[in-house]
Amino acid sequence: MGAPRSSTVKFRMPTRDNLVPIRVDVEVDGQRYRDAFTWNPRDPDTEIMSFAKRTAKDLKLPTSFVPQMFHSIQGQLADFRSYEGQDMQVKEKIVPLKIDLRVNNTVVRDQFLWDIGNLESDPEEFARTLCDDLNITDPEVGPAIAVSIREQLYEIASQSVSAMREAKMSKKRRAPEFASNSKAMNNAVDMFKYFGSKGSVIRKRKEWYLYAPVVDVISNEKTVVVAKDEAKL
C-alpha cells in the first residue's frame, strides 16, 4: 500500500469503453423527443445523420426533428472532443454516484461508490447486473442507468480536466498545485478512513439503506402525473 499513485493520460471517459453519454431533448411543434444513449466518439459524423433519420423514422416523428437531433448530438460530441487532447490526471479516487431516474413505469433510486481512476470500469455491466439482481424486466432501465452513470463520470472527468488546465495556468503565474487538489477532493471518499489499516471496508449495518437500490413500479396513472411534474421542471 502506498500513496495513491497518479498518472496523466489524454482525456477520455474513465471507463473501459470510451463511450460518450448523449442526452437528446428536442421539441418541435408541441411534440417532444427525449432520449439518452451512448455514442462512440470515433464514429464518423455521417453516422449521426443516419442515426437521426433512422430514429425519426422508427418513432414516426416528423422529419423536422432530424436536423434538431443531429445538432444536439453533434454539439455534445463536439463538447467532448474539445476536451480530448488535454491532459487528465488519473488517480484513485472513489466518489459516490447517485441514480435517481424514472423509465416508463419503473423508478430507480440508488447510491454506490465508483473509482474515477479505474479505467477498466464498465457501467453497462454494472447496470445489467443491477437489473438482473432486482428482477427489473423493463429492458430500457438498464441502459438508462448506464447512461446516468456515464453522465456523472463524464462530468467529473471534464471538471478534473478543467481543474488541471486552471492549475497549469495559475502555476505559470505563481501558485503551486495545492488549491486545485482540495477542490477536486471535495466529495470523494476518505481513503484512509475505510482502507487504512484501522478502518474496515465492511460498511456499518445502519448505513446499508443509503447504498441499497430502491425500485418502485408505479401505476400508469401515476406515471402520467410524475411525467407532468418532470416536464414542468
Partner: protein, 554 residues
C-alpha cells in the same frame, strides 16, 4: 484438484468446525490464505495491473481478503439462497466495478452460490458444470470457521454442522481424522468416499455399505444360512458381514467382555472393531447387560475367595448385580480407553447409576469403586487399610486374620480381590441377606473394619477420580489459555506490521514534501536572483523566509 489432494496442505485443525459441501473445483480455497488462482483472476488487488506490486490504498491483498471473507460468510449464512451482487455491494465500501469483478470471480469459482437453488436459471459455469450434482456432492471439505469478526453477522446453525464428540478414543480407534477427507464411517472406520452417508441418532456417520450390512444384520441375525458371501467379499476389511456379526455375538456370549478372546473368535476383525460393532448393534448394549454370566462369574470367583458367603450377592441381588456389572463394563471401557467409541451412552449411564442408587450410601460407594481401574481401587484399599490399622491395632489384627484365611484357602490374595470382597461384604450387609457362614459371628468385628476399609477405599477412589478429572480440566484450561495468548501475539504482530506500513507511507510523504520544499526554495532563489538583477524591490515574505530557515536548519 481432488479434495483428497487438497487435504494434504490443510490448515492446522482448530477445535470448532463447520462442515460445508463445496464443489471440488474450489477446494483450493483457504480462509487464511490467498491462492494463486485468486491472484491471477483479480490482478487489480495484487498490483498486477498497475505493476506497482503492492497495490494501492483501496486495492491490496488485505482489502481483498476483507471483501472476499465478507461475501463468502454472507453467502454461508443461508447457502440455499442465491446471493446477488446488488445485495452485497450495499455493505461494502469500494469501487462498484471492482467489487463486481470480485463478486463475479467468487461466483464463477464456486465459492459462493454453489448450492443455491434460485428461481433464476443458473448460467452453466465453466469448470464446475456437471460436477455439481446434488445427490452426490463430489468433495466434502472442512473449512475452519471464519474469523470471529464475522461471527456476529452469522445467524445460528448453518447447514450440516458436524460436531465430533470430544473423545480421545475416537481418534485412537479411527486413526488420525484428516480434515478434508470424507466423513468417517462409524462402523468400519473407513472414509466414505461415495459420499452417501447416513447419520445415526448418536451423530455417527455410517457409510452406505455399513448401513446396508447393518440393516441386513438386523433382519437376518437369526437366519444364519442366508449369508451374502458376495457382499462380504467386496469390503472384507471394512464392513461387517452377517457371519462376522454372528461370530462376534457368539464370542460375546462365550467370553463376556474379554475382547481379546472375542477378537480371536471373530478372527477377521480386531479388538476395537469388535467393540465398535457391538455398540453399534441395536441390541448391543442390551446384550452386554444380559449376558453378564461371564463377568459375573469372574466377579463371583473373586468374591468367593473370601471365606464368606458372597455368592448370594449375585444370586439374590440380581438387580443390583447388573448395576454393578454395568459399572464393570464401564470399567472395562475405561480400562482400554482406546477401545471406547461412544461416550455419550456410557456417560449417561454412569450418571444415572450414581444418581439412581436408591439412596444407600454404601451402594453409591460400591458403584464409585467400580468406576475406576482395579489398580486404583487396589491402591485406595491398601491405603485405607493401612490408615485403619494405624488408627486401631485391633483392626490390623482383624485384617491380618482375614489375610491369613486367604492364604489358607491357597488363593493368591491380591489387593484387588480384597477390595472386591470388601465391596461384596458391604453389599451383603446392606441387603441384610447375611450370611450363613458360621464364622460370621466371630468375625463381626473384623467385618465392621472391613466395611470401614471399603468406605475409605470408595471415597479414596472417587477422590482420585475427581483429581484426575480436575487435572484434565486444568490441562484443557492451560491449552485454551495458550491459544488465547498466541492469538493475542499474532494480533500484536499484525499491528506492528501495519505500523511499519504506515511508517513507510509517512517516509514517502516526508520525502516528497522535502522535495517540494526544495524546489520551492529553488524557485524563490531564482525569483530573488531575477529581482536582484533587475533591481526591483522585494518585500519580505514571512512564510517563505521561515521555510527557508527551516530547510537550512537541519
Amino acid at each position: 484438484m481432488s479434495p483428497a489432494a487438497a487435504s494434504g496442505e490443510a490448515p492446522p485443525p482448530r477445535p470448532p468446525r463447520e462442515l460445508y459441501t463445496i464443489p471440488a473445483s474450489s477446494s483450493w480455497f483457504r480462509w487464511d490464505d490467498i491462492h494463486d488462482a485468486e491472484r491471477q483472476a483479480l490482478p487489480d488487488f495484487f498490483g498486477g495491473a498497475g505493476g506497482s506490486g503492492v497495490g494501492t490504498a483501496s486495492r491490496n491483498p488485505r482489502i481483498y481478503r476483507e471483501y472476499r471473507d465478507y461475501i463468502i460468510s454472507k453467502y454461508r449464512e443461508d447457502p440455499a439462497r442465491r446471493l446477488t451482487f446488488t445485495e452485497v455491494r450495499r455493505a461494502l465500501v469500494g469501487d462498484a466495478s471492482l467489487l463486481r469483478k470480485l463478486f463475479g470471480f467468487l461466483d464463477s469459482a464456486g465459492l459462493i452460490n454453489f448450492s443455491a437453488t434460485s428461481s433464476r436459471p443458473a448460467a452453466p459455469r465453466p469448470g464446475v458444470g456437471a460436477d455439481a450434482v446434488l445427490e452426490a456432492p463430489l468433495g466434502l471439505q472442512v473449512t475452519p470457521r471464519p474469523p470471529p469478526s464475522f461471527l456476529e453477522e452469522r445467524r445460528g446453525g448453518g447447514e450440516g454442522v458436524l460436531r465430533l464428540p470430544q473423545l480421545t478414543s475416537y481418534s485412537d480407534v479411527f486413526g488420525e481424522w484428516a480434515p478434508g477427507k470424507g466423513p468417517l464411517c462409524g462402523f468400519c472406520g473407513q472414509e466414505c468416499r461415495d459420499g452417501k452417508v447416513e447419520t445415526l441418532k448418536d451423530g455417527f456417520k455410517v457409510c452406505s455399505k455399513c448401513c446396508k450390512t447393518n440393516s441386513d444384520s438386523k433382519e437376518e441375525a437369526n437366519k444364519f444360512s442366508d449369508v451374502k458371501q458376495e457382499n462380504s467379499d467386496n469390503h472384507a476389511s471394512s464392513a461387517w458381514t452377517d457371519a462376522e456379526t454372528l461370530l462376534l455375538l457368539e464370542g460375546v456370549l462365550k467370553h463376556g467382555d474379554d475382547w481379546d478372546l472375542i477378537a480371536q473368535h471373530v478372527r477377521t476383525k480386531n479388538k476395537s472393531e469388535c467393540i465398535a460393532r457391538l455398540i453399534q448393534l441395536p441390541f448391543g448394549e442390551h446384550m452386554l447387560g444380559t449376558i453378564n454370566g461371564k463377568p459375573d462369574s469372574r466377579f463371583q470367583a473373586n468374591q468367593t475367595t473370601d471365606g464368606k458367603t458372597n455368592h448370594c450377592i449375585v444370586k439374590e441381588a440380581s438387580s443390583q448385580s447388573t448395576e454393578v456389572v454395568d459399572g464393570m463394563q464401564i470399567d472395562g471401557e475405561e480400562d482400554g480407553a482406546d477401545k471406547l467409541v461412544e461416550e455419550h451412552p456410557s456417560k449417561r449411564r454412569r450418571l444415572c447409576s450414581s444418581i439412581d442408587a436408591t439412596g444407600s450410601l454404601m451402594e453409591q460407594l460400591a458403584l464409585l469403586t467400580t468406576a475406576v481401574t482395579p489398580d486404583v481401587v487396589a491402591a485406595a484399599a491398601a491405603a485405607s487399610i493401612k490408615a485403619l490399622g494405624d488408627e486401631n491395632p485391633q483392626a490390623k489384627k482383624a485384617f491380618h486374620l482375614s489375610e491369613k484365611e486367604y492364604q489358607g484357602k491357597s488363593f493368591s490374595s491380591n489387593p484387588f480381590q480384597e477390595s472386591n470382597c470388601n465391596v461384596g461384604d458391604q453389599e451383603v450387609e446392606m441387603h441384610g441377606k447375611t450370611v450363613s457362614d458360621k464364622k460370621m459371628e466371630k468375625k463381626f468385628i473384623s467385618t465392621a473394619y472391613q466395611v470401614r476399609a471399603a468406605v475409605g477405599t470408595a471415597v479414596g477412589v472417587s477422590a482420585a477420580r475427581a483429581k484426575m478429572l480436575a487435572d484434565q480440566e486444568e490441562r484443557e484450561m492451560e491449552l485454551l489459555m495458550a491459544s488465547i495468548i498466541e492469538t493475542q501475539l499474532r494480533k500484536i504482530q499484525y499491528k506492528i506490521k501495519h505500523f511499519e506500513e504506515l511508517e513507510l507511507i509517512m517516509d514517502q510523504e516526508y520525502t516528497t514534501i522535502q522535495e517540494i520544499k526544495e524546489s520551492l526554495i529553488k524557485d524563490w532563489l531564482k525569483v530573488l536572483k531575477r529581482a536582484f538583477e533587475t533591481g526591483a524591490p522585494i518585500q519580505r515574505d514571512e512564510v517563505l523566509t521561515k521555510l527557508f530557515l527551516s530547510k537550512a536548519a537541519p
